[in-house]
């Protein structure tokens, strides 16, 4: 099977699973077995949507959420990649940072919300901080693990070719592990979207997470479902985009 046929085959199977799930949902919701309060049917969701926030409001929600996720995620990556590189490569840095990172990694992010408000107020910075804290430690651990898996012979070969110290790290270890780091970023981007809802608990007036909470408050279950669909499809879309990007950036690692 050719590469393009294989991709089409996979996409076809994926589309079938989505259609089957939506159909199952419609059948169950319309059967009357479950109250619409718990599981509204697709046409009830659409009906609620017509009376809910405007399209402009949804676009604003999407834009704010995306901006927060990207800002928190980019800041986490900017800190985690160099830090993970040095932790993975230098035992001393690892020894110093290990207890701190492991401790921080196991603190539930929602428990940090009060501190985030205390440190950064209730504006955008606090929301970005929540997403940053939710992803940065996982990224550091992942990057360090990838760096540790670098074949030692590759590093030695680079040393015999005139590279040493930091240059080995940035010109050998980083490019060697770049696909793994990229995969890690792709996974943690999903987490960043999860922490968005936590972040938008903080005095938000817009955003997809905020919209879920707003709809819950007014028992607009259809809006909750729609917002969750948007979040899910944004996640799926970004994942597909990043997979395509990976193929283009790292043609040597397929």
């Amino acid at each position: 099977m050719f590469e393009s046929e294989r991709i089409q085959y996979r996409a076809g199977l994926g589309a079938i699973s989505v259609v089957v799930s939506l159909t199952t949902w419609a059948i169950i919701a319309n059967s009357g077995l479950v109250s619409p309060l718990f599981l509204p049917s697709p046409h009830e969701v659409l009906a609620e949507l017509r009376n809910g926030p405007s399209a402009h409001q949804w676009i604003l929600d999407f834009s704010f959420s995306t901006g927060r996720v990207l800002a928190g995620f980019a800041a986490a990556a900017a800190v985690a990649i160099p830090l993970g590189l040095y932790i993975g490569a230098a035992k001393t840095v690892d020894a110093i940072t290990y207890p701190l990172i492991e401790l921080a990694r196991y603190v539930p992010v929602p428990a940090l919300v009060p501190l985030c408000i205390l440190w950064a107020g209730v504006d955008e910075l606090a929301k970005i901080l929540v997403i940053f804290l939710g992803t940065v430690f996982q990224m550091v651990v992942g990057v360090a693990a990838a760096v540790r898996s670098t074949p030692p012979d590759l590093i030695d070969a680079a040393r015999t070719l005139g590279r040493d110290g930091h240059r080995v790290l940035w010109t050998i270890v980083l490019p060697m592990n770049a696909p793994r780091v990229f995969d890690l970023l792709r996974l943690t981007l999903g987490w960043a979207w999860s922490y968005l809802v936590v972040a938008e608990l903080i005095a938000a007036q817009s955003g997809l997470g905020y919209r879920v909470l707003w709809a819950q408050r007014y028992l607009q279950v259809g809006i909750v479902y729609f917002a969750l669909f948007v979040l899910a499809f944004v996640g799926l879309g970004s994942d597909i985009l990043l997979r395509q990007l990976r193929r283009r950036i790292f043609p040597w690692d397929r």
Binding site: D153, L154, D156, A158, T160, L161, A178, F250, W252
Partner: protein, 245 residues
């Protein structure tokens, strides 16, 4: 010329002298000479290569490269490892020219690639090449970097017989025509007799030379019968060393 003068070394510096990996070990490798090192696994052959390369520092004694003390790795001592050391994110041309000086330029790199039969693959990534071809790229890279000593740590173990023989011939030719010194670790008796000018059988610990056969001095390397005799002598020596361990 490479000289190891009374080199002592152990991965655990506190180890007693009689159980250290290297204890006052002395060895000399002349230019235009391929020294083949044979011995049981784990006796210290790879450590020997790494000490000469400057990837390890002796606890005592010194390693000299043309009279200068080796204090760290250098482009002058190229290493071919047992595993694949091509940089997978670089094309064959970029791998080969990884440590090229300005004098080489793209044309210089391409010229070496042509002589190594790799020019047609210059834009390919290493994953598209066989392991043998990747080892050939690693050799070209060391040559372009300016290696004067080749340190070969069982580099052809997983290479198919045809390419293996071609690479053996290529390395022998480089050593003879360019006056390189080479240390070649192998477990393969055929390879040892085929490429070696001098073959030492070593045993550990500490590393000692159990036999030192000057194949060139026999001056009959092309004679099949003598080759078989040498192989037989080496085999008996390796067997004795393995039994003692």
């Amino acid at each position: 010329m490479i000289q190891m003068n009374s080199v002592s070394f152990d991965y655990n510096p506190g180890a007693p002298a009689d159980s250290a990996l290297f204890e006052a070990f002395t060895l000399e490798i002349r230019d235009s000479e391929i020294l083949v090192v044979m011995g049981p696994s784990g006796c210290g052959k790879t450590t020997l290569i790494r000490l000469i390369a400057g990837l390890l520092t002796p606890d005592a004694g010194s390693v000299l490269d043309d009279g200068a003390v080796v204090t760290g790795p250098s482009k002058a001592r190229g290493v071919m490892f047992q595993g694949d050391t091509c940089f997978p994110w670089l094309t064959v041309r970029d791998n080969a020219g990884f440590a090229a000086d300005n004098a080489h330029g793209v044309e210089g790199v391409d010229e070496v690639l042509r002589s190594f039969g790799l020019y047609d693959y210059r834009e390919s990534f290493p994953r598209h090449l066989s392991f043998g071809s990747r080892q050939r790229v690693a050799l070209a890279r060391a040559i372009i970097a300016g290696a004067k000593t080749l340190l070969l740590d069982e580099p052809l173990n997983s290479v198919d017989p045809v390419l293996r023989r071609a690479l053996q011939d290529q390395i022998c030719s480089l050593v003879v025509t360019r006056g390189y010194a080479a240390v070649w670790v192998t477990h393969d008796l055929d390879e040892a007799v085929r490429v070696g000018h001098r073959i030492i059988v070593v045993a550990g610990q500490p590393l000692t030379i159990r036999s030192d056969t000057n194949v060139v001095a026999l001056n009959q390397r092309d004679s099949g019968a003598i080759r078989e005799d040498i192989k037989d002598i080496l085999f008996q020596e390796l067997k004795r060393v393995a039994t003692k361990q």
